[in-house]
Amino acid sequence: MAEKSKVAFYWCASCGGCEEAMVDLAEDILQVVEKAEFVLWPVAMDFKREDVENLKDEEILVTFINGAVRTSEQEEMVRLLRKKSKILIAFGACAYTGGVPGLANCYSREEILNFYYKSGDTVFNPEDKKPTPHFIEGNFAFEIPEFYGRVYAVDQVVDVDYYIPGCAPTRKVVKNAIDALFSSQLPQKGSILGASSKSLCNECPLNETKPEKIYVKKFKRVDKTQPEPDKCLLIQGYPCLGPVTRGGCEALCVKANYPCTGCFGPLDDVKDYGAKAVSFLASIIDSNDEKEIEKIIDEGLSNPLAIVYRYSLPKSLIFDTKIKKNGG
């Protein structure tokens, strides 16, 4: 390869874990660097927006975007990168399905700002200041990004070519995805890269400990009771989302005795991750009595939204709409 391919890595509303995931590639990253030249990676290198603007359209071979879209700046950067890139990849759960920030879609912008700038227990803000996109401080007029009314997955803002799932994507998934990208034949547009086409149970070492039929009489929480080791967490009553979640992580959480929370998102053809999670979890409740079922749900699954939609609320069937002008 005479010239190295240009690669960009950008973050939006995210925790930074996805950046770590990239760094976690360790020596494998050398392989990437060998083939690629970074043109944007704010967390690691000093590039400016201008540098990207100066590139030709589609000059970047691959852009990885992690994090969901929550502000006007994020929207602008994602649109810019889309224009400058041949391939745009939503990297990690937030970019792919909205992620944990997406749970904020149950609250209005005003409620969120009010909590963080006024009513929150640790807030000290006697002047009652709240961020506004345009404000004047002394002699200077400032402009800060606008905080949108809801969180968007990247494909609700721009066209996305591929997705790499995970919170964060594991080293192996990232490596698989990169191998797929640099292979001679690109996968079909819209594919999930690097992960499995089957659910986590398929690769979970504890799947063998399941009895043939699964029923749950009581749901438990890991913060209240300690799971037994080496025994399927679901059959113990922990709402492990392995059955409804795409595999590929090699059951890292389960191996640490922690139930799967679903960061790898839904399987192909599942339209709504949370609805499917509701369906399978409720189906295995071992009771036919309405009162008892309610008790089992209310005692063990008392905050079902955060269980079934922890990473994918913005992509729920109802919410799955493209961004409108000005995001909110």
Binding site: S197, L200, C201, E212, K213, I214, Y215, V244, S279, F280
Partner: protein
């Protein structure tokens, strides 16, 4: 609209039916047709006065041929009425019948909507739903499967015997499995049967012999069904033949071994005589037993208990039929249908302490008295008390354990009649005063009411009232040494004390203790009382919800002998009808598992009410046995990977239909 799977060009024809004025009187048909013709993939939309008529169907058939239609929608009545008709029309025109969808614009629209405009809008929505849906339809094949011609009958009482004989006479091979050492069931214990007073063994014994001699019946006595696998037409059944320690092929029932037993006298309660007599460890249950062969009870035989018996029985048997080394044997048979005729048990009256059973020796159950009056019973047919006295007065208490919310709420149906029969027999043989204590006299049945009248003329005393107590606490000299029945005589409104020598408890009928195990073994249902549940209480009284399994006799609910026999023969006829179809067509709306998607998460397996889903250890995925699948789609809705899917009810089809319906 969702994307269509690549499947060539889709050409939809829509046919809107007027149904005379049934639809056209409320729905603007022209508007609906006009609307339909503009829907995606629609090549032609037509209306007709009666779509289900021959010319209506011809319309569809011609269009299929001439316009090369490959999806058909008929908007007319309920699919429950004419889906079959239009599917057949498609098939006749060379189109796979499952490329068809019906829109119900009569029952669900024109007949229930007052406003014509609203009805038209709703009809449009229903048509759009059907068009959107049918686009995702695919050609399906009806699968059929061969039916194994043999039948298993579980239970060798009068129900099982009757069913077996009908089937065997029709040329079917029958495996009849009976838990006890002999067939015959409860009926074999009876002396006479009501209301004709036929001798029970005179009518039953020939049937038992027929079973034994019938070339088409293979009899397994002292055996139990241990495992049932498979599904309608193809059951595999494991039968445990318990070791009898006597070879029934060699034994001729000569009693020599029993005579020779080291026990000179019987020592253990005789089950057949309800414990009223004693038997030896080696015994023949009763003289008419089939098979007429001895059996050794290892729980009482010295050889089994200590290994140090002189084994005089073995020496006495010239034919060498006794084999102490016999082991249980598992036999596997294949059958196409199963008839369950496991019968009932009688209510245990010690649960009602105030009636004194177990406390006063002269309180008997009706079944014990049946043995007492039976000429082959423990007393040779003499009705005598445990101390040898002949009773001067006898009280029969009805509804013991029946029609009582503390015990069983149901009427056991036979007790009034058998009580009358016992009253008659007791009166006839002992000339005792007989009192019947009843709540209501229930005698519906051919000749039953007449029998009741006859008894009243015979001088049996009928006292209407629920017995409060049976006691031996005498308060007057004439009560001394008697059992006193305390009862409110509701006809005269006084509490009475009737002293008698013998009390007979007309115990009710209950489901067998292990009915639930049988239910699980066969995957059939029980009512909450524990009786096996028929598919429909009126129209399918011998079928169960599990295809290929039929129920007969008192295991379905209390019944007398004629009803039992009728039901048994009905079950046999149902089994015959099934088997003689040779093949069964399976519904095409079954579910299947996409192997590429299944992760083997096990979620679906326990949800299937028919145990149609199992785990394939080799492939590590779930597998649906489509012959067992009834097509409910519960697994499909639950499958977290969308690996389970259902034909005719694919997700895509339902999404499209919902989208279309919400016009």
């Amino acid at each position: 609209m969702n994307k269509i799977r690549g499947d060539g060009e889709i050409r939809v024809g829509v046919y809107v039916c007027h149904c005379g004025t049934n639809i056209a009187g409320r729905v603007n048909i022209k508007e609906v047709v006009e609307f339909a013709s503009k829907l995606p993939y629609v090549v032609v939309a037509r209306e007709y006065k009666y779509m289900c008529s021959d010319p209506g169907q011809e319309l569809i058939k011609n269009d299929i041929k001439e316009l090369k239609l490959n999806r058909i929608v008929v908007a007319s009545c309920s699919p429950h009425l004419h889906e079959h008709t239009f599917r057949k029309a498609c098939e006749d025109a060379g189109l796979n019948p499952f490329n068809f969808q019906m829109a119900n614009i009569r029952e669900h629209v024109s007949w229930v909507t007052k406003d014509s405009k609203e009805a038209t809008e709703k009809a449009k929505a229903m048509v759009r739903a059907a068009v959107y849906r049918v686009v995702f339809h695919e050609s399906l094949e009806r699968k059929s499967q061969e039916i194994h011609p043999d039948v298993l009958v579980i239970g060798g009482g009068i129900a099982g015997i009757s069913a077996s004989l009908v089937l065997a006479d029709a040329g079917k091979k029958v495996y009849l499995v009976e838990r006890e050492p002999s067939i015959g069931g409860h009926m074999a214990k009876f002396d006479k049967t009501f209301p004709t007073l036929d001798c029970a063994s005179c009518i039953l014994t020939p049937k038992m012999t027929q079973v034994k001699d019938h070339p088409n019946i293979e009899l397994f006595t002292y055996s139990e069904v241990e495992e049932v696998d498979g599904y309608v037409g193809n059951f595999t059944v494991k039968i445990r033949k318990r070791a009898r320690y006597v070879d029934i092929e060699k034994c001729v029932g000569c009693y020599e071994c029993i005579e020779a037993c080291v026990y000179k006298e019987g020592k253990f309660p005789d089950e057949f005589n309800e414990g009223l007599s004693k038997r030896k460890p080696i015994y023949i249950p009763f003289p008419q037993a089939v098979p007429l062969a001895a059996v050794i009870d290892p729980a009482t035989c010295i050889q089994f208990l200590s290994g140090k018996c002189k084994r005089t029985c073995q020496q006495a048997c010239e034919r060498g039929a006794i084999d102490f080394n016999m082991r249980d044997e598992i036999v596997e048979v294949k059958v196409g249908a199963i008839i369950v005729a496991t019968g009932f048990k009688t209510f245990d009256p010690s649960r009602i302490p105030q009636y004194g059973y177990d406390r006063y020796p002269n309180v008997y159950t009706a079944l014990e008295v049946e043995r007492l009056v039976n000429s082959s019973g423990p007393t040779g047919g003499e009705i005598i008390l445990r101390d040898g006295r002949r009773p001067q007065s006898v009280g029969i208490i009805h509804c013991v354990g029946s029609r009582d919310k503390n015990y069983n709420i149901w009427c056991s149906r036979v007790c009034c009649m058998y009580s009358l029969k016992l009253a008659h027999l007791i009166k006839e043989r002992t000339n005792a005063e007989v009192y019947c204590f009843y709540i209501d006299m229930r005698t519906p049945g051919k000749g039953y009411e007449e029998f009741y009248h006859k008894l009243m003329e015979e001088g049996v005393h009928f006292i209407r009232g629920k017995v409060a107590e049976v006691t031996d606490w005498a308060v007057t000299p004439e009560e001394e040494g008697k059992l006193i029945i305390r009862v409110e005589d509701t006809l005269i409104g006084v509490v009475r004390r009737i002293p008698v020598d013998m009390v007979v408890l007309a115990v009710g009928l209950e489901p067998r203790t292990d009915a639930d195990e049988i239910r699980r073994l066969l995957n059939i249902s029980c009512s909450k009382e524990g009786w096996f549940l028929e598919r429909h209480p009126k129209l399918a009284p011998v079928a169960t919800f599990t295809d290929g399994i039929f129920i007969a006799g008192a295991c379905q609910g209390p019944k007398d002998i004629p009803d039992t026999v009728a039901q048994a023969e009905a079950a046999a006829a149902q089994a015959l009808a099934l088997i003689d179809r040779k093949r069964i067509e399976l519904e095409p709306n079954t579910a299947w598992i996409d192997e590429e998607k299944c992760s083997g998460c096990h979620i679906c397996i326990g949800l299937c009410p028919y145990s149609a889903i199992s785990y394939n250890e080799e492939k590590k995925i779930a597998v649906i046995n489509e012959a067992l699948c009834k097509g409910c789609g519960v697994c499909v809705a639950a499958c977290p990977s969308k690996a389970a899917q259902q034909r005719l009810f694919l997700d895509e089809q339902l999404y499209a239909e919902i989208e279309g319906a919400l016009l």
